[in-house]
């Protein structure tokens, strides 16, 4: 039986990756953000899973608008890092785990999630920045194989928050039904509040972000009840991507232990958040 040992929620703002790639993590504009990552990174370095699943969205790099899948899952041996226009990030390609992917696809399709199965996929900053948040210096390879779970958060109608949470729960069941005894980390990416276009560009909602940060741990059902309109109103037109945190959260136990969280404004035009949860049952005293 495979087991989710932790869940990591994190923003995937491209400038966070760019700041790292250009050695600017100690610059005044960035230092507080990266200092806020440090405790999570230290704990994660001690808790390396056998495989990770990154829930993310693409930003006009791996796929275009000819077809927009609500949910996609990769089954490849390898995912190339996309060149987003000016050279790819200097980070390793992603090694996948097809066998585990096939298990997840079969379980999730049997549970009536209508996945699009990807055998070829170039992953962009939405995927690699969370890996860098987790592992700032991967060397030649990321800590473990990683499987992409793509979510449409760009083109309305996005999946509802409730559907994302339900997918997360089914993902948790799929992981637990895997016959191999492996450990799994799940990353939910995106957010927090931000809006890139329109007269409301630059919108940030720290109160909502604080609420989201708390409820994602203690009451994800409350968040899963939010409509798209409410999410866009509260979190901005791009902040709706927070629904991806619910997939991560759904894959975890009802009770989780918060290891660390932090909140920072601005990363580019975005509020950035990180939250790390231990999914192992608390040890009896």
């Amino acid at each position: 039986m495979a087991e989710v040992i932790w869940g990591l929620a994190t923003s995937h703002v491209p400038s966070i990756g760019a700041a790292m790639d250009r050695g600017k993590a100690d610059d005044p504009a960035w230092k507080a953000l990266f200092d806020g990552y440090a405790p999570a990174r230290a704990w994660l370095a001690e808790h390396r899973p056998d495989v990770a699943i990154v829930v993310y969205n693409d930003h006009a790099n791996g796929i275009d608008l000819d077809f927009v899948p609500t949910f996609g899952l990769g089954t490849a041996e390898r995912y190339e890092v996309a060149d987003e226009g000016f050279g790819r990030r200097p980070v390793p390609d992603v090694v996948g785990d097809p066998e585990f992917s096939f298990h997840l696809v079969e379980s999730l399709v049997d549970e009536e999630f209508d996945l699009t199965v990807f055998q070829e996929l170039h992953v962009d900053h939405g995927f690699t920045v969370p890996l860098s948040v987790w592992t700032p210096d991967p060397g030649d390879s990321w800590p473990c194989p990683v499987i992409p779970l793509l979510v449409n958060v760009i083109q309305y109608p996005q999946p509802t928050a409730a559907r994302c949470f339900a997918l997360g729960k089914a993902l948790g069941r799929a992981i637990r039904s895997y016959p191999k005894d492996i450990t799994v980390g799940v990353l939910g990416t995106g957010g927090m509040s931000h809006q890139l276009a329109g007269a409301r560009a630059g919108f940030i909602n720290p109160d909502f972000d604080a609420l989201w940060m708390e409820k994602i741990e203690t009451d994800p059902d409350a968040l899963a009840g939010m409509s798209r309109e409410e999410l866009i109103r509260q979190a901005g037109s791009e902040g709706i991507e927070l629904i991806m945190w619910l997939i991560m959260r759904g894959a975890m136990n009802e009770q989780v232990t918060r290891i660390h969280s932090d909140y920072f404004v601005p990363a580019s035009n975005t509020a950035a958040g990180i939250a790390l949860f231990d999914n192992r049952l608390p040890q009896r005293a």
């Binding site: 608008l65 109103r233 901005g236």
Partner: protein, 122 residues
């Protein structure tokens, strides 16, 4: 300068919602933006922007918006911000610059507002 901003799906002033209808309207233009990921296409675009727009089948309004770098019009005419941003990047423009345009604040003021914790509603 630009076309009217079409009515949004929700009653959320100043908040474009990129829905299916918008995506259809902007499909050719967004494809053009995505093509700018390669140096070769950027060179071809810069050598003759109008011809490149025609090759991708942009409407005259979309082509004008692109040639004028009328960022608001590109959004109004179906541009997705993630795609429009590819053109901005090519021009050496940041997301803060675009924020300055969309809000009418200008880049410096927009950047200052972000550093001060971001903008609020109302």
């Amino acid at each position: 300068m630009s076309s009217e901003t079409p009515p949004s799906r929700f009653d959320l002033p100043g908040t474009p919602v990129f829905d299916g209808q918008t995506s259809r309207r902007g499909l050719r233009m967004n494809k053009l933006f995505m093509s700018l990921r390669t140096a070769q296409n950027r060179e071809r675009f810069l050598a003759d922007e109008a011809a490149y727009c025609q090759e991708f089948g942009l409407t005259p309004e979309q082509q004008q918006a692109v040639l004028d770098r009328d960022w608001q019009a590109m959004i109004d005419l179906g541009g997705s911000i993630f795609y429009v941003y590819k053109l901005a990047m090519m021009d050496g423009r940041s997301m803060q610059y675009l924020g300055g345009v969309f809000t009418g604040m200008g880049e410096d003021e927009f950047l200052a507002a972000m550093r001060a914790g971001g903008r609020r509603d109302g």
